[in-house]
Amino acid sequence: MAIRNSGNMSITEEFAAKIKRDNQKERIMKLAPVIVLFALILIFSIVCGKDFASLKNLVAVLNQLAIPLLVAIGLTFVIMIGGIDLSINGTVGMAASLVGIFVMNNRFTQFNLGIGGILIGILSSVLVGFLAGLIHVYLRIPSFMVTFAFMYVCKGIGLLSYSGEPPTILDPVLAELPKKSFIGIPFITWMALIVLGICILIQEYTAFGRYIYAVGTDESILSAVGVSVKKVKVKVFTLAGLCFGIAGALAAIRLGQGQVNVGEGLMFPAQAAVVVGGTSLAGGKGGVINTIVGVLVMRVLSNGLVLMGVNPYIRTGIEGIIILVAVALTVARGAKVISK
């Protein structure tokens, strides 16, 4: 029998071999997202030819990158602590709506606060993140449930804020922004890249960044050195709220309208991007840099499929399948693992 081939190994050796196999697998899984990315680029370059492999298309991809990237970054931190944030569609939509209302627009002239309006939009999302974190941590409600509820609360607030008719942004500076670019990269993408840089800095160069990894690995490690797990978790949800808020503000600026619908369909690709990038749902592994690869995979895929003329509904379906496959490949299994 094949299973007996380890017959002459001692138990410690077997154990060590098992660990070695796991490590090898992990190393492969680490490289997988990059390989997938290059494979996709190669395939689409062959199938779509010049349409895909052109500077013009590259700029187009970069153009679409900003908001999915921001959302995915925020989500990455939450997933790294083993939680999940389902509120994205709502919080982004709410932030966008409020930005629309509180800057110069065609409907609510009395609220023109300029930059302050943008801040209000972002802050609303930060607040929601903070509250979701607090409720999750202190009332001990699973994060998916808290954020699920908040998704709807935020959507409601967004819709209610402009009661049905989204305001068009008239602020001359903001209206011009989407068209501006710097060394070929649009302003909005720059904003996303700056946030990305800050998040990498937070993750790699602050104590908080280290604690995020620790919470995801084993919460007791933190208590042993006297760091409050609860505070770290609340901070993570707040940081995620900040990322979603900025995404919402940029989405409103790009669209020229404060609309709750800009949040629609954001959560799903973001979840897929984070997981595809190699951040495990169990927490403690991965990070923002992995997510960049994940977002690129999702964007390239979507862009390539568009160029191939694939029906948009099939594209969402494919996203669904990708997330299932990615999670199924990375999730822990075994008799004692209980998944709810």
């Binding site: 083993g82 009332l139 998916f144 509820a149 709807y152 409601g156 209610l160 969402t316 379906g317 299932l324």
Partner: protein, 335 residues
């Protein structure tokens, strides 16, 4: 003393259960009084009829979700399974119906197709969740997007049921007093699930798995089988919801289920089913559905912006979950 503490926890669990039950009950009563005080016609026959018949699809779907939540899992794909069943129903009626001998036969065929689809959706989601250990909220999220695209691929725009087929959906209009046939059928569904829940091996296993999955496994319960069967039940319930909606609206709408996800979770949570699993039941959910319906209907009636609904139900879910969640196990890490 340790023993005192355990008694306290037991008492608290009972208290929580009562709290949720009476919360729903009193919420219904207070809301009805409040709404009818402000609007004379609220308790009128016409409104009562809409209120009761509107709640039928929600009841059907919510009782399916109840089982899933008792397991401690969640099924976010119910809304889109409902949408697919909805468009399938209308497709069967319009495309195959005319070639059949009678519209009733077409209605029956559509029903069978819906149920088969719902069961199929439940089986594959259940298998992926149970066998591959993909957390249910992620698995169902994946299927949510999958089925949403399937529904939109079948029909992008709403399609009305052909006039010739109207007899096939006439049954929704049958009423006995203020109670319509859809509600009666939904309540029959409740009765069936109530029997499953309380009198069958699957139902008993449901509560033990929800209460302690590891212990249930060690005790020799076929945990995987039970869980998959329950996902099948929830899939069928979602599909039936879609079938009901097709008949009620006389048309298909590929996104009809989207708005239901929140309402379903709200209804089940308000009905006292604990998210941590192991407690609750379909009867509570029926109360929860009526609470949701009364609020919905009342808000429409007194002319509150529909936009409030998301906020109100979102907050309700939070409140209900906060009350019913089990915080007695200290070491448990909540993710």
């Amino acid at each position: 003393m340790a023993s005192n503490k355990t008694v306290d926890i037991g008492k608290r669990m009972r208290l929580q259960e009562h709290l949720m039950k009476y919360f729903s009950f009193s919420a219904i009563v207070i809301l009805i009084i409040a709404f009818s005080a402000s609007q004379q016609n609220f308790l009128g026959k016409a409104n009562l009829k809409t209120l009761l018949s509107d709640s039928a699809p929600l009841i059907i779907m919510s009782i399916g979700m109840t089982f899933i939540l008792i397991l401690g899992s969640i099924d976010l794909a119910m809304g889109s399974v409902c949408s697919v069943a909805n468009v399938l129903t209308v497709m069967v009626l319009n495309d195959i119906g005319p070639s059949l001998s009678s519209p009733v036969l077409a209605a029956f065929l559509a029903l069978v197709v819906s149920i088969i689809f719902g069961a199929f959706a439940g089986v594959i989601q259940g298998i992926i969740h149970v066998k591959l250990k993909v957390p249910s909220f992620i698995a169902s999220l994946g299927f949510m997007s999958l089925w949403q695209s399937v529904a939109l691929l079948i029909t992008e725009a709403p399609v009305s049921v052909a006039k010739a087929m109207w007899p096939a959906i006439e049954w929704v209009k049958v009423t006995f007093g203020v109670i319509g046939l859809p509600l009666i059928l939904a309540l029959i569904g409740v009765a069936i699930l109530y029997v499953i829940q309380n009198y069958t091996t699957i139902g008993r296993s449901l509560y033990s798995i929800g209460g302690n999955e590891r212990a249930s496994r060690i005790a020799g319960i076929s945990v995987d089988k039970v869980k998959i069967s329950l996902f099948v039940v929830s899939g069928i319930c979602a599909a039936l919801g879609g079938y009901f909606l097709a008949a009620k609206l006389r048309s298909s709408a590929p996104r009809v289920g989207d708005s239901f996800t929140l309402l379903i979770v709200a209804a089940v949570a308000l009905g006292g089913t604990s998210l941590s699993g192991g407690r609750g039941g379909v009867l509570g959910t029926v109360l929860g559905v009526f609470t949701v319906s009364v609020i919905q209907n009342g808000m429409n009636f007194i002319g509150v912006d529909a936009y409030w609904q998301n906020i109100v139900f979102g907050l309700f879910v939070l409140a209900a979950v906060a009350i019913s969640v089990d915080r007695s196990v200290r070491g448990l890490v909540v993710k």
